[in-house]
Structure formats: structure tokens, C-alpha cells
Amino acid sequence: MVKRMVSKPLSWIERLLFIDFIKGLSVTIRHAFSRTITTHYPYEKLTPPKRFRGFFGHKVVDGNEPQPAFDEWVERFNIQVEYGKSRCVVCMLCKRACPVPQLFEIEGKKLENGKRVVSVFNMNLMLCTFCGFCVDACPVDCLFQSDIHETASYTRRDSILDLETLEKIGRDWQMRREHEPDRIWIDDEQREKLWHENDLRLPEPEARGRHEW
């Protein structure tokens, strides 16, 4: 269906009485006496949604690994599993899936008992596009993207995440947000400011639990 857009010229009455201006002015004055909608950053902050694609982290072994995938991969690569340490099985799939593979620097080392463990896992986020392909590729739900988005730093060194930082972010995430339901976002006061005029009523979250992708 084709819809023709037509416009008729201003009438004389509109012209003489400045009706067009008055209409516009009425809109702006109405807005002027409505509530402001801005978030007063950095004094107030929005909570990013759970799916937010921010800084990376390594989830640590805590008994909630995706089974049976985790055990299979651990067996396949002969990995030493240690409680509270990264789940990484050094499969390099993240590096393969990455559009800029140079940003990963992954190495495993052999322990004395013949098992392997990840020793180096550096991500140079100066090259990263935060697309999340590596997260999709990770078979053991180890690599993930957290809600950390304030990432400015003084040196380039800070933009390289090493294994320790990744694990720290992961532990933090597992403590804070891992158990949130997969919901579009968490209602907070700041978001309410913007969405107030839309009369938004989000239903109560249904099931609590991990969400996977």
C-alpha cells in the first residue's frame, strides 16, 4: 500500500494569528512544567541490565557449572579443576570466534601431576569490539561479560585484563548478579524517571535462577 503524503499551505488565519507558533509554544511550555527525566551522572547511576555486554570476566568453579559439558571438556583437555579458580579449559574457542583474535593471549601449563591448567589469559580490550562472540563460543560458561562499563583508565596497561582480574570480576559477578532472573532490566529509581510517563508496569519476575546463552 502506498500512502501519499500531502501538505496544504498555511491558511491566512493561521498566518495572522500566529497559530503555528502558539501550537509549538504550547507544547514546549507543557514540557517545561513536566518532570525532568535525566539521570544525574555520576551522582546517580543506572543499573545495567543483566545481559549488558561490558568488561569480561571468568566465572570461577563453584559447583554451578553447566553439566555435562563442563566435565566432558575437563576430561578432554585433562584439566586440573580447583574450587574458586577459573573454569577455563584452554580450548581456544573464544580466540577462534573472535573477529580480532590478536586480542587474546591464552596459554596453558602442565602441572606436575600431568594435568593442565590455564596460566595466561590476557585480553587486550583496546582491540575488543564487545560483540560477545567469545562468550557464545565458550563451551563451559566460563568467559562472560559483566555489567562493568566505567572503564576509563590512565594507562594502556589497565585495558589489558589478565587472568587474576578476570577471575576477580567473575567472583564479583557470581556474588552480585548471577542469580538474577533473565529480565529486561531491573527497575530502579533512575530508570523510573525516564519511563514514568509511559506507565510501565513490569510483571514480577517469574523464575529465579541462572540464565544461559
Partner: protein, 348 residues
């Protein structure tokens, strides 16, 4: 001999008061504008420096003053700086003929709250107003850059066109008042029990349009036009030198022209007017302060209206602006003069 000294002292005091008020208020109008604009756009505006950002203008001023003073290569330094002076001085000088209230007595000495009640006051206003074109033309030329040049040429074109329209527009009230002195104009409005806006609506509309055009407010802010010319003739100015131009154009000039508009059309310091019947003063309890409050209220209302327009409308194109000036505004103003000069003698 003694009275001369007293006169001088009084004038000196008036100058200090007026300058302090004009420049201080001018600076704080930036805060007002930012707040108004912000709330129209659903933002809170400056909130961090002081209570609701009240100290923001001071912070901005400090920032601008401490900035590096840049000067374009091959520019003309003398004219470059002269433009600043030419912009600031005439705009503030106009306050000399703005009457703030009725005459009052202090220690038996009569004081008019106007710096100089010259009997060509209005002429002075528009004489000084057209000096602004020099400031802008010089600023554009001395910067030795293309954008300022285009911006200043645009502005010069606009001022020249609207100078004519505005002068003819104020003829109407002048014919009715029969004087050029600003103080006398208000007096005659009070005596005739009539704000001239009631009988001079055309002149008022033309005056408002010309006010917007002369001060470079939307819908006539083509010399700034940040989307096309990146603030036009002030491109090459930095620091406080950059700050002065908008301060003068957008605040001090708007303030003076609003004040003159209030004097010409809205009865100066007189309270609310019922045409030909008299004045109603809801603020009578303020006693002798009431006229000043009324004057202030009217100027503020006019200023806020201009802000409201500014933050609502789009802007015209240069050729359309001059076209409106010559093809619509000037004939309207002339028509108004003719009608007024035919009817006015019949009534008064």
C-alpha cells in the same frame, strides 16, 4: 556650585548602580537561560556548582578568564580587540536612558531613576543599537577567517534591514506620546491611561520581530547558526573574549531592548492597565517600591517570552530574514505610522 557637586555625585552613584546591575544581571541571565532551556527540554540544567547551579556563571566566568588568549594568524589585532569594545560599550550605554521608575525625593533632593533623561532618548537607543553592526563587522573582518566573515556579513545585513523596521515601528508610540524622551513617554502613557500596546499591536509585533533579529535570537540567529557557521563571527575568539559577544548580544542587548519595549509599549513602571479607564495595582502593598517591581516584572516577562520563543522555533534563512524585513515588516510599520498619524490627532 554646590548643586553641581551633588548632581555629579548622584550621577556617579547612578552609573555605579546601573553598571553593576546591568553586568551582574547580564551574567546571571546566562543561568536563567540555561535553566529555562533545560526545563523546556526536560533536563534540570546546571545543578552541581552551588544550590541549583547558582554559582555556575561565576565558575564559567573564571574558566573563560583563565583560558589561553588565542589570536588568528594574519588577523588584525587592533580591530580584533576594538570589536569587543564596540560590542560591549554601546550595549551598556543604552541603560543610560532606561527609566526604572518614577521620580522620588531623597533629603529634599529630587532624583529621577534614569541616568540622563535626554529628550532624544529613543534616538540615542537606536543610534547606539546600530553601532553594534560595527562590532560584528569588525570582528568578522579582523579574524581573517572565512566563517566569521560570512557570519558577520549576515549579521550586518540583518541589522541594516531591521534598523529601518524598528525605527519606523517605534514611530507609532512616539506620535502618540509626542516626545522622544523615554521618561516622558512613560509619563504620557500614565496620563493617557493607556499602554500603547493596546492601540499599536502592529508596531509591537514589528518591534518584537526586530528585537529578535537585532539581538540574534532564534528565529533570527543566523549569524551564530552553530550548525552552519559554528557560531559565526566569534569562531576565532577565545576565552572571555568569546564570552563577551554572547553576553552582550543575547543578554545585555535583549535586556535593554526589552526594557525599551516595556517603556514604549507596556507603560514602563505603571501597573496593569485597563485601556482608557485606569490602572489596577495588585502590588499596592509594596508602597513606593511597587513601580520598580512592576518594571522588573515586565522586563522579566518579556525576557522569558523571548527565551520561550528561542527554545521552540527553528531559524530562518538569511534571504528570508531580509525579505521579511523589507517586504513585510517595513510596509507594516509604514502603514502603522500612516494610520496612527491620521487617527491620533482626531482623538487627542
Amino acid at each position: 556650585m554646590e548643586s553641581v557637586w551633588i548632581d555629579l555625585l548622584v550621577v556617579f552613584l547612578k552609573i555605579i548602580v546601573i553598571l553593576a546591575v546591568a553586568l551582574g544581571v547580564g551574567a546571571y541571565l546566562t543561568w536563567v537561560e540555561r535553566k529555562v532551556a533545560a526545563h523546556i527540554q526536560r533536563r534540570p540544567g546546571p545543578m552541581v556548582v552551588g544550590w541549583h547551579g547558582l554559582l555556575q556563571p561565576i565558575a564559567d566566568g573564571l574558566k573563560l578568564i583563565t583560558k589561553e588568549d588565542l589570536f588568528p594568524r594574519y588577523g588584525n589585532r587592533f580591530l580584533y580587540n576594538l570589536a569587543l569594545v564596540l560590542a560591549l560599550v554601546p550595549a551598556t550605554l543604552v541603560f543610560a536612558v532606561v527609566p526604572f521608575g518614577p521620580e522620588f525625593e531623597v533629603f529634599g533632593y529630587k532624583v529621577k531613576p534614569i541616568l540622563t533623561d535626554v529628550n532624544v532618548g529613543i534616538l540615542l537607543v537606536f543610534g547606539l543599537g546600530s553601532l553594534a553592526v560595527y562590532a560584528i563587522a569588525l570582528a568578522g573582518w579582523a579574524s581573517n577567517s572565512k566563517y566569521p566573515l560570512i557570519g558577520s556579513m549576515r549579521k550586518a545585513g540583518v541589522i541594516i534591514s531591521y534598523e529601518v523596521a524598528i525605527t519606523f515601528a517605534v514611530m507609532g508610540p512616539l506620535i502618540l506620546a509626542g516626545t522622544l524622551s523615554t521618561y516622558e513617554i512613560v509619563q504620557s502613557q500614565i496620563e493617557q491611561k493607556l499602554w500603547y500596546v493596546w492601540v499599536q499591536p502592529i508596531a509591537f509585533v514589528v518591534y518584537m520581530f526586530s528585537l529578535l533579529a537585532e539581538t540574534g535570537r532564534i528565529p533570527f540567529d543566523i549569524q551564530e547558526a552553530e550548525a552552519e557557521l559554528v557560531t559565526g563571527f566569534t569562531v576565532e575568539y577565545g576565552g572571555m573574549k568569546f564570552g563577551i559577544f554572547p553576553l552582550v548580544e543575547w543578554y545585555i542587548e535583549v535586556l535593554t531592548l526589552s526594557a525599551i519595549g516595556v517603556v514604549l509599549f507596556l507603560g514602563g513602571w505603571s501597573p496593569i492597565n485597563i485601556p482608557f479607564v485606569g490602572f489596577v495595582d495588585p502590588l499596592f502593598f509594596l508602597g513606593p517600591l511597587s513601580p520598580y517591581v512592576w518594571f522588573l516584572l515586565k522586563v522579566t516577562a518579556l525576557f522569558l517570552f523571548i527565551l520561550w520563543l528561542h527554545w521552540t522555533l527553528p531559524r530562518y534563512r538569511i534571504d528570508q530574514i531580509t525579505e521579511i524585513a523589507w517586504k513585510v515588516m517595513l510596509p507594516l510599520a509604514l502603514f502603522n505610522i500612516v494610520i496612527t498619524s491620521i487617527i491620533a490627532p482626531l482623538i487627542w
